[in-house]
């Protein structure tokens, strides 16, 4: 990246100037008081509140975490198309993309082979990480349209004391739109570069009997980059390293939300097909028939009953989640000229869940929250077959249960002092865990706060890690993390927000893949890692909606154990903000993995390396009878998001038309469904 210490000092100095001088300058400005604003202006005042930090709505300044809120307005203004786009612009989040799935690392943690299992993804407070890979889908594979998002809450730090497993590094909570907010019918059609076409229909209405209905359907298709060049494969036998028309993607989503009085039913259905141009996992490069392709289908049904009785708020949830994944991977046939050997790799995960919680205000300025949940993972099936019946496949059919109870108390000791403590007990079939969290929050004035946050979290081994490779060890335990964080947040009026955050994350018994037992990896508890960092952010918004975001992050990460590689190095944030983030990782040692790219600055963004790519956990080689053709071409079989630099599509353009039929009333701006746009777009 070429950042010398001098430029580093310049960055630090700039950070000081912006975060310190701007509020000071603001102090000298005369400001209009809220009562002097017109009612239209009042409707433009942004409100920073968060649900996911404590399972109740509270101001961001009083939440026991460092929080960022992205609203529908932000999504519309930036033209975000996926949750990955949204996270890419968020301080401390690093998103990469291997032209199949998108991966997120948080504050220096991005483990090789991690399918986002250390970030908890919620939709309206309901967990949507699947029950095979524990994966938080963030790209198009999420199967949700960002036009149905009301806002996204990004809550940094562990929250296992509230949510149990996976709330390891961060929690991302998507709040979806109600019918009232999209009043009327809207039809949209868009076309753009990369052969992109999109059709979208939105309907929202609140009926006279109180029933609120929101419906949406989206179909999107993209040809992707027509010809992708891979330098490593530039030989005549492999089409001179060019993958021809293999970057296509197809996505269909349906969203419905129905609310009647205290009951809300939300359902999302999504199906995404993606061709894989990178010859991931040593598949045939540029294979046109069959193509390497993954299909992910997701269904979520979530019913919630919520009621306030006196000073107590009750909520009860019932949910069903299902994931079906299929990956088709063509391999070279046994002999030259013979048809390819096609691997069909599949999994189905289905889960029922019930949950309940109560929040009650108690004497002494206390707010007590207690709850419990039970999940039945009725299907956790992984299987694969080959096109050649002589090559055996395998099927692994499992099921499991998990449950947890938790309690959390917030005590307002003084008007300006809040104490927050939480504890959760989780029980799994094979182990149990107790996780605490604590916070001291000082709110000297209504628009700034200091927070000291302490938390512990765990992540249980998932079905993929436990069973896919036929792990001979049954002792795989949850990994854990302990964190300390100091946060200072300040809001200067409506237009300037600054935050400074220093943190120390120490993870232990990380679940990593070990290759020392043979060709297939075995997941073991081994890695330890430590990350320390400082983040400074200032955001300036003008009244007309212009926005400047300044971000600076420094971080140092190290592995405690020299032979494992719990810490991958992530590309620095490729965000909407002027990218001044600089990663100062001291680096990790990773001899076993043999990927020197761990420690490289991804300065020049090398072209994606097909041989290091991997799709889903497709493991064609199995220890009992591997097909010879595959063995001879085998490379590192572990999916490796950590050293996959984020692929860029350059500048893309889209044009769209929108036809809207509304009720008699005009919605204020911001209530409109965002017309998505890439870097440049025009609305006709």
């Amino acid at each position: 990246m070429g950042f010398g210490s001098h430029s580093l000092y310049r960055v630090v100095a700039l950070g000081v100037v912006v975060t310190v001088a701007a509020p000071a300058w603001a102090a000298g400005q005369s400001r209009r008081h809220l009562p002097d604003l017109s009612i239209e202006e009042l409707m433009g005042v942004s409100i920073e509140q968060v649900f996911g930090a404590s399972e109740r709505v509270q101001p961001v300044t009083e939440a026991p975490a460092s929080v960022t809120i992205i609203t529908a307005d932000d999504i519309s203004r930036h033209g975000y198309r996926t949750l990955a786009d949204i996270l890419r612009g968020v301080r401390g989040f690093y998103v990469s993309d291997d032209r199949n799935y998108s991966y997120v690392g948080v504050r220096g943690f991005g483990l090789p082979g991690d399918y986002n299992s250390r970030v908890l993804l919620l939709v309206n407070g309901h967990k949507v990480n699947d029950n095979i890979y524990d994966q938080a889908y963030i790209g198009a594979e999420l199967g949700m349209d960002v036009a149905t998002f009301d806002r996204v809450e990004i809550i940094r730090g562990p929250a296992s004391s509230l949510y149990g497993t996976s709330a390891f590094l961060a929690v991302v909570n998507i709040i979806t739109r109600s019918g009232g907010s999209m009043e009327g019918i809207s039809l949209q059609a868009e076309a753009g570069t990369l052969g992109t076409q999109l059709g979208r229909g939105l309907f929202g209405r609140t009926f006279a009997n109180g029933l609120d209905v929101a419906l949406s359907g989206t179909y999107e298709r993209s040809g992707g980059v027509e010809r992708l060049y891979f330098e490593e494969l530039d030989t005549p036998a492999t089409n001179s390293g060019i993958a021809d028309g293999l970057d296509g993607e197809e996505l269909g989503t349906v969203y419905g939300r129905f609310r009647l009085h205290d009951f809300t039913l939300t359902t999302t259905i999504g199906r995404r097909l993606k061709d894989i141009p990178t010859a991931s996992y040593s598949t045939l490069f540029n294979s046109q028939s069959p193509r390497a392709r993954t299909t992910d289908s997701r269904t979520m049904v979530h019913g919630q009953y919520e009621r306030v009785a006196g000073r107590t708020r009750f909520a009860a949830d019932v949910s069903f989640d299902r994931l079906r994944y299929e990956g088709v991977y063509p391999y070279a046939g046994a002999e030259p000229g013979s048809p390819p050997l096609v691997l069909d790799d599949m999994s189905v995960g289905a889960r029922w869940g019930v949950a309940g919680r109560a929040t009650r205000a108690l004497p002494g300025g206390q707010t007590l929250t207690a709850g419990g949940e039970f999940m039945a993972n009725v299907t956790q099936k992984q299987w694969w077959t080959y096109s050649d019946p002589m090559v055996p496949g395998r099927s692994i059919d499992k099921s499991s249960r998990q449950s947890g109870i938790y309690v959390q108390d917030e005590i307002r000791v003084r008007r300006w002092l809040l104490l927050n403590a939480g504890l959760r007990f989780d029980r799994y079939d094979r182990f149990a865990r107790t996780t605490p969290r604590g916070a001291v929050i000082v709110v000297p004035s209504s628009n700034q706060s200091f927070k000291y946050l302490y938390g512990r979290a765990f992540r249980a081994p998932n079905a993929y890690e436990l069973y896919y490779f036929g792990n001979p060890f049954t002792t795989l335990q949850p990994e854990s993390i302990g964190t300390h964080e100091l946060v200072w947040e300040q809001y200067v009026g409506e237009w300037l927000r600054t935050s400074v955050s220093g943190y120390r994350y120490a993870a232990s018994r990380l679940i990593i893949a070990d290759f020392s037992y043979g060709d297939d990896p075995i997941f073991i508890n081994s890695g330890e890692a430590l990350a320390k960092g400082l983040e400074v952010e200032a955001e300036v918004r003008s009244r007309r909606g212009a926005q400047v975001l300044f971000g600076f992050a420094t971080q140092r990460s190290e592995d405690a154990e020299p032979w494992s590689t719990p810490l991958g190095r992530w590309p620095s944030s490729d965000s909407a903000l002027p990218d001044l983030s600089k990663d100062l990782s001291a680096g990790s040692k990773c001899s076993t993995w043999g990927h020197g790219t761990h420690l490289q600055e991804p300065a020049s963004r090398p072209p994606p390396s097909p041989t290091r790519r991997s799709a889903r956990g497709s493991r064609p080689q199995s220890s009992w009878s591997p097909p010879p053709a595959i063995c001879s071409t085998r490379l590192t079989p572990i999916p490796h998001p950590a050293n996959t630099p984020s692929t860029e599509f350059g500048r893309t353009v889209r044009l769209g038309i929108r036809w809207t039929l509304r009720g008699a009333r005009v919605m204020p701006s911001g209530g409109n469904p965002p017309l998505r746009s890439a870097d440049d777009s025009h609305e006709n």
Binding site: S5, L8, V12, V16, T19, V20, A24, A26, A27, Q29, R31, L34, P35, I39, L42, M43, V45, S46, I47, E48, Q49, P59, V60, T61, E62, T71, A72, D73, D150, R151, S178, G180, S181, T206, A208, V308, A309, G310, R311, S446, N447, Q448, W488, Q490, Y491, G493, V500, G502, V536, T554, R556, L584, A586, G663, A664, R665, V666, M667, P668, G671
Partner: protein, 183 residues
């Protein structure tokens, strides 16, 4: 290098703390992001500006009542200072749900009180009182204006029929900005 970095970070933190102490808080008491009391109070004031109390004699003061939320009451008292609405001076009163509400021209009721206030609100329906609450479903069930949060912004829903039953004139500007609901 690392030592220099640490030093610079320490300097940065020290500078921030110094700035924090030295810089007065410009927006103090402007936006209470806690319960957004200041914002709610500003909305209440706006609602009063866009409402016509036809039965109220010109020049008589407008009584704005707040039930069950001291923060909003304080913020409203602060907001109405030096403000007038069409030649009327403004008074703010904090009331309990069992208080003498007939004297109120505008009444804000917090969510925490709303559960037990059903019969009381029913009795107020035909009185010229502009009822406002941040309780979900308020405009549809028993009140006239409901404040709610959507996409990080404060919004409001209005039940015009309830308004005309109470003998209040709600301006078209207000109705144009509102989500309209029926009984």
């Amino acid at each position: 290098m690392i030592r220099l970095l640490r030093l610079s970070l320490l300097v940065l933190i020290a500078a921030l703390i110094a700035a924090l102490i030295a810089v007065p808080d410009p927006a103090r008491a402007h936006i209470d992001s806690g319960t957004h009391s200041d914002l709610k109070a500003a909305f209440l004031l706006s609602f009063a500006k866009f409402t016509e109390w036809q039965s109220l004699a010109p020049g008589t003061p407008l009584v704005m009542c707040v039930a069950g939320d001291q923060r909003v009451a304080n913020a409203l008292a602060e907001a109405v200072r030096e403000q007038r609405v069409r030649d009327r001076s403004l008074q703010v009163q904090e009331v309990g749900s069992d208080g003498f509400l007939e004297a109120c021209n505008l009444l804000f009721i917090s969510t925490s009180l709303i559960q037990n206030a059903g019969p009381l609100l029913a009795s107020l329906k035909r009185l010229p009182i502009l009822t406002v609450s941040d309780s979900q479903g308020f405009a549809r069930s028993s009140g006239i204006i409901e404040l709610y949060v959507e996409a990080g912004r404060m919004r409001f829903a209005v039940n015009p029929e309830a308004g005309s039953r109470a003998g209040l004139g709600l301006s078209s500007r207000l109705l144009n900005l509102a989500r309209i609901v029926g009984d």
